[in-house]
Amino acid sequence: MTRYIVRRVLGGVATLTALSVLVFVALIAIPGTIVGSTLGAEGASDSEIAKQLEATYGLDRNVFVQYFDWLWGVIRGDLGESWRSGRPVSDVILERLPLTIEITIGAIFVAIIIGVPLGAIAAKRQHTFVDHGARIAALLGAAIPVYLTATLVLLVGSENWGWVPPTGYVAIWSDPIENLATVITPILILGFSSAASILRMTRGAMTDVLSQDFVRTAEAKGLRPMRITIRHGLHNASIPVLTVLGVEAGVLLGGTVLTESVLSLPGVGRLVVDAITQRDYPVVQGTVLMIAGMFIAINILTDLLYGLLDPRIRLEGDN
C-alpha cells in the first residue's frame, strides 16, 4: 500500500513538472507582455523604460534561466510575487482557495445526492416514466451551459425579487450564514450540471449489477428490495461511479472559472482568468500548478478508494 502511494505521488510530481513546462511555454507564447500592457503603445516604444521594466521582472534573462529560477522557487515553496500587486503569489492563492474548494466540494455533494438515488431508481424501473424522466432531466442538466444557468438565476432573481447574490467571501468559521448565502448559488448550479453524468453512470452500472446472478440469489433469499438495491447493487456499482466523480472534480474545477466570473465571486477560477488578461504570469503559473496538483491528488485518492470499496482490487505494486 505504502509502496503504491509513494509511486503514485512520485508519478504525480513528474506529471506536474512536465505540466509546469507546458504552462511556462504557453505563457511565453501569449501575445503582448506585461511591459507592453503597463506602458501602453506609446511608452513601449521608449526602449529605455521598457528595458528597465524587463529587468525588474527578470524578462531580460534567458528563457531557461527564467524557468529554472521559478522551478527552484517552487521547490522551496516560493511561488514568486504577483507582477500587479507585488504580493506573494501563495498568499493571493491561499486567500482565494477556500471559496473555490468549498464550491467544488459542495457541488460534488449536491451532484451525488441528486445523481446516485435517481440513477439507481432509473435502473430499477427501466423504460418506465420515471426512467425516461430522470434521463431527460440529466441530459438537460449536462446540455445547459453553466454560465447560462448562472446568468438566468441572476436575471430571475433581480427582476422578480430585487435579489442580488452576495459577491464577497466570508470564511465559513467566521459567519456560517453569510458564507452559505454566498456559496449556495454556485454550488446548486454546478451540482445540477454535474448530477447528469453521475446519474448516467449510476444507471448504467446499476443495470449491469442488477442483472447478475448474485442479485437473483438475493431476491430468492427473500431479502427486502431496498436492501438488495443498496447492499448488493449500489455497493458493487460504486467503482464506475467513483471514476466519474474523479473526472467530474476536474470539470467542476474548470466550471468554477465560469460561475465565479458570472457571479463575480473572488475565487481561484476568476483569479486565473483575470491574471491571464493582465499578463500577471507568476499568478497564472502558481494558480494553474495549484489547481492541477489538486486534480492529480483527487485522482490518486479515488484510485485508493477503489481498493477500500472493493477488496478484490489489488493496487499495482502493492504486495
Binding site: L140, P145, Y147, L148, G254, V288, A292
Partner: protein, 274 residues
C-alpha cells in the same frame, strides 16, 4: 430497416433530424437569413421579438435570428473542426500505442497523462489565451483537450481487438502490420469512436461557447453563439431575448448531440437491443 430503427429509437431519430436541420440552416445562412447579421439599425435597437425580427434585435439593432444563423457556422465549424483534428490525431496515436505496445506505448501514454492532469476548461482557456483569441485558435485549444480522450479510447479498443482470434489469424497469414491496423483494427473500432465523437462534439460546442463567452473566441464583428450570449449578458435586464435565444440554441444543439451519442451507443451495442 430504417423505419424500424426510427420507431424503436425515437430519441435518435429526433436528435438526428434536429442536427440535420441546424447544419442545413448554418450552411444556407446567407440565403435564408432575413437580414444582414452585421447591419446596424439605429431605429430598432433592443426591440423585442416581432414579425419583422422574429427573435428581436441587439443593442446595435442587428437582427438576432440572422446573427444566430451566421453564428451557427462558427460554433459548429469550431466544434466539428476541433473534434475532427482530435479524432484523427488521437485515434492514430491510440491505435499505434495499443498495437505496438512497449516503449512507444509507454511514452505516448505519459504525454497523454500530462494533458489529462489539467481540468479541461482551464487548459482550453490557457491555450486559447496563449494562441491569441480567434475562432481558429479556440478550435485548436479544444482539439488539444479531446486528443487524449480519443487516444485512450482508441488504445483500449485496439488492445481488445488485436487480441481477438481474427487479428491473430491475419497476422499468421503474414499480413503487414500497417495493413492489419488499417484494414482490420481500424474498421472494428470505428463504432466506438463514432459514439465518442458525438459526445465530444457536444462538449466541444459547450467549450467553444464558454471560451467565446469569456472573450477568447471569434472577435467582433464575427460572433459565435457563445459570444452572442456573452454580449447579451450585459443588457440582460433590458433585452433578455438576446441571452435566452442564444442560450436556447446552444442547449438544443448540445442536447441533440448528447442524444445522438446515447442513441448510437444503444443502437450499436447488441446487449441493449430490446
Amino acid at each position: 430497416m430504417i423505419r424500424r430503427t426510427i420507431t424503436s429509437h425515437p430519441g435518435l431519430a429526433i436528435a438526428a433530424s434536429v442536427l440535420f436541420a441546424i447544419t442545413i440552416a448554418a450552411l444556407l445562412a446567407p440565403l435564408i437569413s432575413p437580414f444582414d447579421p452585421l447591419a446596424f439599425d439605429r431605429e430598432r435597437r433592443l426591440t423585442g421579438p416581432s414579425a419583422d425580427h422574429l427573435l428581436g434585435t441587439d443593442r446595435y439593432g442587428r437582427d438576432q435570428l440572422s446573427r444566430l444563423l451566421y453564428g451557427a457556422r462558427i460554433s459548429l465549424g469550431v466544434a466539428a473542426g476541433s473534434v475532427g483534428v482530435a479524432l484523427s490525431i488521437g485515434a492514430t496515436v491510440g491505435v499505434i500505442a495499443g498495437y505496438f505496445g512497449g516503449k512507444i506505448d509507454h511514452v505516448l501514454m505519459r504525454i497523454i497523462d500530462v494533458l489529462f492532469a489539467f481540468p479541461p476548461l482551464l487548459l482550453a482557456i490557457m491555450l486559447a489565451a496563449s494562441l491569441g483569441p480567434s475562432a481558429r485558435n479556440a478550435a485548436l485549444a479544444i482539439a488539444v483537450i479531446f486528443l487524449p480522450v480519443f487516444a485512450r479510447v482508441a488504445r483500449s479498443t485496439t488492445l481488445i481487438e488485436s487480441s481477438k482470434p481474427y487479428a491473430e489469424a491475419v497476422q499468421l497469414m503474414g499480413a503487414r502490420k500497417t495493413r492489419i491496423m488499417g484494414r482490420h483494427i481500424v474498421p472494428n473500432i470505428t463504432t466506438v469512436l463514432a459514439v465518442q465523437a458525438s459526445i465530444a462534439l457536444a462538449q466541444a460546442l459547450l467549450l467553444e461557447s464558454a471560451l467565446s463567452f469569456l472573450g477568447l473566441g471569434p472577435q467582433p464583428p464575427a460572433a459565435s453563439w457563445g459570444s452572442i450570449l456573452g454580449d447579451g449578458r450585459v443588457l440582460l435586464g433590458l433585452a433578455p431575448w438576446v441571452t435566452i435565444s442564444a442560450g436556447a440554441t446552444i442547449t438544443i444543439a448540445v442536447l441533440a448531440l448528447f442524444m445522438l451519442g446515447d442513441g448510437l451507443s444503444n443502437l450499436l451495442d447488441p446487449r441493449s437491443r430490446r
